[in-house]
């Protein structure tokens, strides 16, 4: 309680007290400046402005909208539109230029790589990994071998039309399941031994498998087993194996066949993004 009847002066300090007293302890009155109080009132009035301008009061039917009509969603939309506007000149350059022109212009290539990296993270990383490192069944894009070719134009075609994805211009051709198409278990074992010997040192006699290979596999993989990018037939003489290079893996592949899908991105992504993706993937370390 404030005692308004008498002003109480504290003997030790000569300062007036507020009149508040707790068990004999009194509070000295050290008054705040009035303007300080007015600043507090001003901030209160200021806060009312927020209620009016922005979404503020939660109601059963949703929060009040505020007269500015601001929402987080519209703010994001606006930010994205600004971002697109910022990028527009460079994106137009991508649209106008050929892949070779983009790759040879340092500034445009840098933009394409950054733009492609971001598009890669959204669209490609689920299968090919964050930096194109791939995994079993999903090609590593950073190494120096390509199923469907590693030039700019070949990469672009693969991204646009995909593989085994229903696009008539896309890559076709499967690895047949030889276990149900005329090869016996012994023949499969022999040819797996032969294929294994192509990239590994081995002292086994692989002549039986070599014959099986010559009779069945050369149309796609070639007599020298170096593959054919037009058919997506991998080079079997290297250390790079999409489905694993152990004998067990090879037997599995030969017996049951292989044929992964690559979506045809031409229907989903605009040309500039595909160009940027191409330049980015080409720059990952394996581009030809």
């Amino acid at each position: 309680m404030i005692d308004h009847k008498h002003q109480d002066i504290d003997a030790a300090t000569g300062t007036a007290t507020t009149g508040h007293e707790w068990d004999g302890i009194k509070e000295l009155n050290t008054p705040l400046p009035k303007w300080w109080l007015y600043v507090l009132y001003a901030t209160m009035i200021w806060s009312v402005g927020y209620w009016i301008l922005y979404p503020a009061i939660p109601l059963p039917s949703g929060a009040t909208r505020g007269i500015l009509g601001w929402s987080m969603r519209s703010a994001v939309t606006q930010d994205l539109a600004e971002l697109r506007a910022d990028r527009a000149p460079m994106v137009n350059e991508l649209n106008k230029s050929t892949l070779q022109q983009i790759a040879s212009d340092p500034k445009l290539a840098e933009f394409a790589r950054a733009y492609g990296h971001s598009a890669f993270g959204v669209n490609c990383a689920p299968c090919h990994g964050a930096n194109g490192q791939g995994s079993k069944g999903y090609p590593n894009l950073t190494a120096d071998r390509w199923l469907w070719g590693g030039t700019l134009d070949q990469i672009s075609a693969t991204i646009t039309h995909g593989a085994r994805y229903g696009d008539p211009d896309g890559h076709q051709g499967d690895m047949p399941a030889w276990g149900s198409q005329g090869l016996s278990k012994q023949q499969i074992d022999d040819v797996a031994n032969y294929v294994y010997s192509l990239s590994n040192k081995t002292t086994d006699d692989v002549s039986a498998g070599k014959k099986v290979f010559a009779d069945n596999c050369t149309p796609c993989h070639g007599a020298d087993a170096k593959g054919n990018p037009d058919m997506g037939a991998p080079n079997l003489t290297t250390k790079i194996w999409l489905y694993g290079g152990d004998k067990d893996d090879l037997i599995q592949t030969i017996t049951y066949g292989r044929g992964g899908h690559m979506p045809a991105w031409g229907a989903k992504l605009d040309p500039a993004t595909i160009k940027a993706l191409t330049v980015y993937v080409h720059s990952l370390g394996g581009g030809q």
Partner: protein, 492 residues
């Protein structure tokens, strides 16, 4: 504050009989500081002129750094993330130099406090300096203390209205120039001045000028001592840091009391009775910019500007008494004089000042040393994490690194990037031709960071452990300056 000689009479004074209402908020008492002349006033004028000339004209000082870099001596280039200070150029990653500067500033403030209390507040604080300038304008347009007090009580006349309008116009002019000079530190000053004059400067420049004009006008024109009394943290910190050796503006109670008028004092002295030198003329209070009565002892409101010393010395001179009734003195002497002991000389050399000085010199020397010996090039190596290595078709292993080459000079430089610690490894830079014996040649553009994708490849039969420490070596083709950066080569 430490012990005070006079009884500490704090506001609010006991209310007169009949008006015993207690308020928890107090109205501001307008202060009308009177003009004064003297030693400390002159020091303050000199610091004001010097400081303002420095502040207003420093952005126009030129400093040649070559054709590709700005020629402004002091420039904060926010767009490109560079800070230029004469021959020194700071990049964002070297922001610790600012930490060093802040540490230096803090210890300098502490040292100033150990020597002479709130000397910063009284002489150098921008709030004090700008308020001083505003008060000069106020006196020039509206008259000195007495005139302003009289005019404040009377209704407006065309004359007072014109004077006040002129005052506010001049205040705004100073405030505008203050804000205007501030933005000049963030862009090429002559160019920006031209743009401002032709209304073609960027919007931020106008916004910042408006903000700083408003704050200067408000703080120096209106808030004044309220900033020191209620807003600034330094008086509170200072009160906890100060000690009994610090020189503070002090009223000599032993000389001043008992107070008496000039005639009465003479009469008393003739009778052999005690009579102080203080004639209670109130000049010390009249000149005080914060409205403090120094005779009540040291208080939170006193900014130690020394103007009351000038005022009192002038009065003592006129009445033929020795000057120094108010002067810089230590708390030790306040107590010694109260006990009738002779005053001691102020002790400047003592552990506290020496420690502060040692810390200041230590930090300054460390900063000076790192600045003097820092390299003009930098190199950062980041190993690609995913994949950490790639096996190529022939079984060889490749690691990819992102290497950042920082050329911190204003001219283009040629470097060689080479590999150490892995004799079987071959280093190449994506998009660059293969290098010779010295390494891969790199052209680094001036004052920029060049980002390179670097591969290191080892043959299939290298038989490397999972991790081998390597070094990227960057060598200046001309000077041979070298920087090495360690990383690892990863294998299956």
């Amino acid at each position: 504050m430490s012990a005070t000689p006079a009884p500490n009479v704090k506001n609010p004074a006991p209310a007169p009989a009949g008006t015993e209402k207690i308020s928890l908020y107090e109205s501001r008492q307008q202060i009308y500081p009177q003009s004064v002349s003297g030693r400390f006033r002159n020091i303050k004028w000199a610091l004001l002129v010097g400081g303002m000339l420095l502040y207003y004209f420093l952005p126009f000082l030129r400093w040649d750094r070559g054709p590709d870099l700005p020629a402004q001596a002091v420039l904060v280039d926010l767009t490109n993330g560079r800070f230029y200070f004469f021959g020194i150029e700071i990049w964002p990653q070297e922001v610790y130099y600012f930490t060093g500067l802040l540490i230096l500033a803090a210890f300098t403030l502490f040292l100033m406090n150990a020597v002479a209390g709130r000397v910063w507040c009284g002489y150098l604080c921008p709030q004090t300096v700008w308020t001083d300038l505003y008060l000069l304008v106020e006196r020039w347009t509206e008259g000195d203390r007495r005139e302003r007090m009289i005019k404040a009580k009377k209704p407006w006349t065309p004359r007072t209205l014109a004077e006040t309008a002129l005052k506010h116009f001049l205040w705004l002019l100073i405030a505008w120039w203050t804000g205007g000079a501030w933005v000049l530190y963030f862009a090429d000053a002559p160019t920006l001045v031209k743009q401002l004059a032709t209304l073609q400067a960027p919007a931020q420049a106008y916004i910042w000028i408006a903000i700083l004009t408003a704050s200067t006008y408000l703080l120096a024109g209106f808030a004044r001592e309220q900033v020191c009394l209620y807003m600034c943290p330094w008086p509170r910190i200072q009160a906890a840091l100060t000690d009994e050796y610090a020189l503070n503006v002090t009223y000599r109670v032993d000389r001043g009391e008992p107070r008496a008028s000039v005639k009465k004092a003479i009469a008393l002295r003739e009778d052999g009775k005690p009579a102080g030198d203080c004639v209670d003329c109130g000049q010390c209070v009249a000149v005080c910019p914060t409205g403090v009565d120094i005779r009540e002892g040291l208080s939170m409101g006193c900014i130690q500007c020394g103007l009351c010393i000038d005022a009192c010395d002038n009065v003592m001179g006129k009445i033929g008494r020795p000057t120094g009734l108010i002067g810089y003195d230590t708390d030790i002497n306040v107590h010694r004089r109260a006990e009738g002991l002779p005053a001691l000389k102020p002790k400047l050399v003592r552990p506290r000042t020496l420690i502060y000085l040692a810390l200041i010199l230590g930090v300054a020397a460390a900063m000076g040393f790192t600045l003097a010996t820092r390299r003009s090039l930098g190199c950062d190596v980041m190993h690609d994490r995913n994949p950490i290595f790639v096996m190529l078709s022939d079984g060889s292993i490749r690691n990819v690194y992102t290497v950042r080459v920082l050329n911190e000079t204003g001219y283009e430089r040629k470097f060689y990037l080479s590999l150490a610690g892995l004799p079987v490894g071959k280093l190449s830079v994506m998009g660059e031709p293969a290098g010779g014996g010295k390494g891969v040649p790199i052209i680094a553009p001036p004052n920029q960071t060049l980002e390179l994708r670097v591969t290191v490849t080892t043959p299939a039969d290298a038989q490397l452990p999972q991790s081998t420490p390597i070094q990227m070596v960057l060598t200046d083709a001309k000077t041979g300056e070298t920087v090495k950066k360690g990383d690892y080569f990863k294998a299956p």
